[in-house]
Subunit: 192 residues, 2 copies
């Protein structure tokens, strides 16, 4: 199995750092050439699963214009040009929630679109979070912080109340890391 070869890139649109759309001419391993393979470049972003010493997780209730709904989300934010994802995570957690942590752990890097690219979402776990300031995100959206136990948050996610794909993807490694989820005894037995 071999990679595709990009022969040519034709930019269709560029909107500052927010979006770049291009059509690529690509050669497939079998020799076929596709003239207009669509590629999107969007900013990469971080998602943070932040836990307080009492076990509760920091969630945000806010309006999101993508789905046109008031939803539950995890703290998250766009990586500025040249910024390291871990720096973004620390910055966004403080800005959006007023919390800091000394116990950070990277969870996963995920690609937004298989075919078209998009950006990468970097998930982090921050434990032992403590509040040191008032939130001051500078975001357009009003953010209301809600505290949920891992169990409550998992149920909210499964019920569709936390509808962003990047939040759901971050919860799988996070809930395993903090011990809310584990392989079931049946699954372990079948593996033995």
């Amino acid at each position: 199995m071999r990679l595709w070869e990009t022969l040519d890139v034709r930019e269709l649109l560029s909107v500052g750092n927010r979006l770049r759309v291009a059509l690529e001419r690509v050669r497939l391993p079998d020799g076929r050439v596709i003239d207009d393979y669509l590629q999107l470049t969007t900013p990469s972003f971080v998602v943070i699963v932040a836990q307080r010493p009492d076990g509760r997780l920091l969630c945000e209730r806010q309006y999101k214009h993508g789905p046109r709904k008031i939803v539950l989300t995890l703290p998250a934010g766009t990586i500025d040009p040249g910024e390291e994802p871990f720096s973004t995570a620390k910055r966004e957690l403080l800005e959006e929630t007023g919390y800091v942590s000394d116990e950070w752990q990277p969870l996963s890097n995920r690609i937004m679109y298989a075919n078209a690219g998009g950006g990468v979402t970097y998930a982090f776990l921050a434990r032992g979070c403590r509040k040191v300031a008032e939130p001051n995100s500078g975001d357009l959206e009003e953010i209301v912080i809600e505290l949920k136990t891992p169990d409550e948050l998992m149920r909210a996610c499964l019920a569709g109340e936390m509808p962003l794909v990047s939040d759901a993807a971050a919860l799988l490694p996070a809930l395993l890391a903090i011990g809310t989820l584990a392989e079931s005894p049946t699954a372990l037995a079948s593996r033995a």
Copy 2:
């Protein structure tokens, strides 16, 4: 907490059914007006967690041009205009793997981008899958089917070998539904 009001939509780019980019003029609840709020419309798609009677899950090894890598993915595909997501799921499972199922269950609907919109990814679980045909996806990518136990697939996902955000998001409800993951005894005890 109130919704935003869209005052005006200015289309920047349209690429068939594949992409629409627009700038919206929106009014926030506090009265501020933002002139250039970016919105993307991309096709919605399905992701399928398909399990055989022997417990193993149908995975695909394929090159994906978004990440420019050969990756492990779940069967998935774009919803055609006017098509119901469940019809897409049945069609794509058959086309990409040659398998059918009589035991379908919807898992979750997830939004791709919180701010910009994007599409929706609909995840389904198909159990008791049986092979009735040879794969014939018509996709540009060569697809090699791999069978993995739920445990193996979860480890591959956690290790970054299955890097698509929509796959990782589908695994959380799927592994709970098929009993690979469960709330840990500690988590259950702390809830009691």
